[in-house]
């Protein structure tokens, strides 16, 4: 089980970083930390994805000196996927930060528990 950890260390680091990001997003009470956690998670996934496409001994898929044979370059598809992934995670982070700003303007705190308590008190009046 542990033996093949040594040569696919990309995937291993990716999963570990994913775990860290996931727990921060899930458990941390501070909103900004949650956003940071989310970005941890996404970047880990993109690392995992990008490392999928790498074939050792080949160059990045940018045409150089007219060589068009596919064997010369690494597999470009995962890289394409990473691009879409990054687009998605950037837009979500923007949305999340917008929400955090609106909450801060209203409740002047970033702690999720306080915000929930304040909103409930506000609803009672």
């Amino acid at each position: 089980m542990g033996s093949n950890l040594f040569f696919n260390y990309f995937e291993a680091t990716a999963v570990i970083v994913f775990g860290i990001g996931f727990t921060i997003l899930f458990l941390d009470r501070n909103l900004i930390k949650k956003v940071i956690g989310f970005n941890f998670m996404d970047s880990a996934i993109f690392l995992f994805l990008a490392s999928n496409g790498y074939i050792s001994g080949r160059v990045s898929p940018i045409f150089e000196d007219g060589v068009t044979a596919a064997e010369h370059y690494i597999n470009p598809v995962p890289a394409g996927l990473v691009l879409t992934g990054i687009v998605v995670s950037v837009s979500v982070t923007a949305f999340l930060l917008a929400l955090v700003v609106r909450l801060y303007l209203r409740y002047h705190t970033l702690e999720m528990d306080e915000i929930v308590a304040l909103s409930r008190k506000e609803a009672d009046e």
Binding site: V77, V88, L96
Partner: protein
């Protein structure tokens, strides 16, 4: 390749175009565009449905003529087109039902953004139902998340909506994160993103036995990720706040349609990508089944204690989601059929209940507490009747839509032997009683003579649109209740050719 076959593709493109144009139009114009678009898509998808039902098999539709594995595909079968027709139809009716509330709750200059978000939501839902490529599925899952969070947030000056949206967004992101890493691991193993080739690869791996552990992990990731997004019971903490604090139309859309699209995606992954025998071997279905039964009971128990009508309906959505997952969890074809029928039944009933609740709020001074809603059914008689019809269908009284699910789910659970059958039957009996215990007193309270003192005498003047939407909803409800045999055979045909 006659013309009808590319209608689904047209619909997706139409919605995208609609979404873009709406954000520059005036509120009235964007409303007209959105409603018109939805009706048009319903018609197109109905034509596609007629075609696929007549031909009886599902065809693959290449987008941009790039062959696999580069190009992108969508796959259209009877089940997908049926869902495709139902979703826009219900969307139109919910929007019409909640139109007055939209124009009240959302700020003046933001209304056209509301309709933009609605169009984006429809794009993502249609894509999720139709897509044959798993990564495209992920992209549209994300679009769906953002759009639905925006729907909840667009409530004028309501702190609670903001908090609910944040919590909803965070939980959804967790779900989609798990879903994404699941896709990546699968891509890592099989090297494909289109569903059919992945299927052969996984089948070989399953037979050869290697990569067994990663396969189980991926199945677990998909199941947890998507059930988290579709508010299955242990992960449903975010649903009541989100659905209750949104405007009437949004909560109808959210609980009626949005959580359903994720379930269909999960079903597609189980059927088309992993294949049923792999899923059964990992035993994840039993976990889903237990969570489904838990949802049916605890959802209703929470609803029993609620004193706020919209939160009660939200908890009832959690319970009804439990029916669907219990259906899927049975593991047999008939169980999945029961789940699909419940998807349609709940899509038809819950938005009607939320619009009626909206109607009650207008005649009760905007309050959602039951103590103020005494006699609201009397003051706004149409919503009263609609609410009663919805409540009876939720309980599962014959002639109403809910009975169809109860019938098929009981038959499905009887087919499975052992503890699953006993658990399912007792859960059905218990949840029927629990539903009756909180819906019928609610109806009785709504028709109660003694009204709260400061509200009595306010007679409702519902707008023509509202009356139209509720009547069509009720007619749809009775149609599903009476002609459920028609729906069942379409869904059966769809499921046969689904994988």
């Amino acid at each position: 390749m006659n013309l009808v076959q590319n209608f689904p593709f047209f619909c997706i493109m139409l919605y995208l175009a609609g979404g873009v144009t709406c954000c520059v139009l005036t509120p009235k114009a964007s409303r007209a565009v959105c409603i018109g678009l939805n009706l048009l898509v319903t018609a197109l998808m109905a034509a596609a449905l007629a075609f696929t039902v007549r031909s009886g098999e599902s065809y693959v539709y290449l987008m941009g003529h790039f062959p696999a594995p580069w190009g992108n595909e969508i796959r259209i079968g009877p089940l997908e087109t049926l869902m495709g027709t139902a979703f826009p139809l219900v969307m139109t009716l919910t929007l019409l039902g909640g139109m007055d509330h939209i124009f009240e709750d959302v700020e003046e200059d933001k209304i056209n953004l509301y309709f933009t978000v609605v169009n984006l939501l429809m794009v993502s839902m249609l894509a999720l139902v139709l897509t044959n490529d798993i990564f495209t599925g992920y992209v549209f899952v994300e679009i769906n998340t953002i759009a639905s969070c925006a729907l909840v947030m667009l409530k004028y000056k309501s702190g609670k909506a903001l908090v609910a949206t944040t919590r909803y967004l965070i939980m959804s992101l967790l779900g989609s994160g798990l879903f994404l890493i699941g896709i990546i691991i699968l891509y890592n193993i099989t090297g494909h993103l289109l569903m059919e080739p992945m299927r052969e690869k996984i089948h070989e791996l399953y037979l050869s036995g290697n990569y067994a552990f990663p396969l189980t992990v991926t199945v677990g990731l998909f199941a947890v990720g998507l059930s988290l997004k579709s508010a299955l019971w242990p992960f449903s903490a975010w649903l009541p706040d989100a659905h209750a604090s949104a405007t009437a139309a949004s909560s109808g859309i959210l609980s009626g349609l949005v959580i359903k699209s994720y379930m269909i995606l999960l079903l597609k992954i189980f059927y088309r990508v992993l294949g049923m025998e792999v899923v059964l071997s990992t035993g994840v279905l039993n976990v889903l089944f237990v969570f489904g039964i838990g949802a049916m009971l605890f959802g209703s128990l929470h609803a029993l204690q609620e004193r706020d009508i919209k939160r009660m309906l939200a908890y009832s959505s959690v319970a009804q989601a439990g029916y669907i997952f219990a259906g899927f969890g049975l593991g047999t074809a008939e169980g999945v059929l029961a789940g699909c029928i419940q998807i349609l039944v709940h899509a038809v009933t819950k938005p009607m209940l939320f619009s009626a609740a909206g109607g009650f709020m207008t005649v009760s001074g905007g309050s959602r507490q039951f103590s103020d809603l005494h006699g609201a059914g009397r003051r706004d008689i149409l919503s009263g009747i609609a609410f009663t019809v919805g409540a009876l269908s939720m309980i599962g009284i014959p002639l109403f839509a809910g009975f169809a699910t109860k019938l098929v789910l009981t038959r499905a659970s009887l087919a499975t032997a052992g503890w699953k059958c006993v658990a399912a039957l007792s859960a059905i009996v218990l949840s029927t009683v629990l539903n009756a215990l909180y819906y019928i007193p609610a109806v009785a309270l709504l028709f109660d003579k003694r009204e709260a003192v400061h509200i009595s005498g306010v007679k409702a003047q519902p707008s023509a649109v509202y009356v139209l939407s509720l009547t069509v909803f009720m007619a749809l409800n009775f149609f599903v209740g009476l002609r459920s045999s028609l729906l069942t055979c379409i869904l059966e045909a769809g499921l046969n050719v689904f994988s």
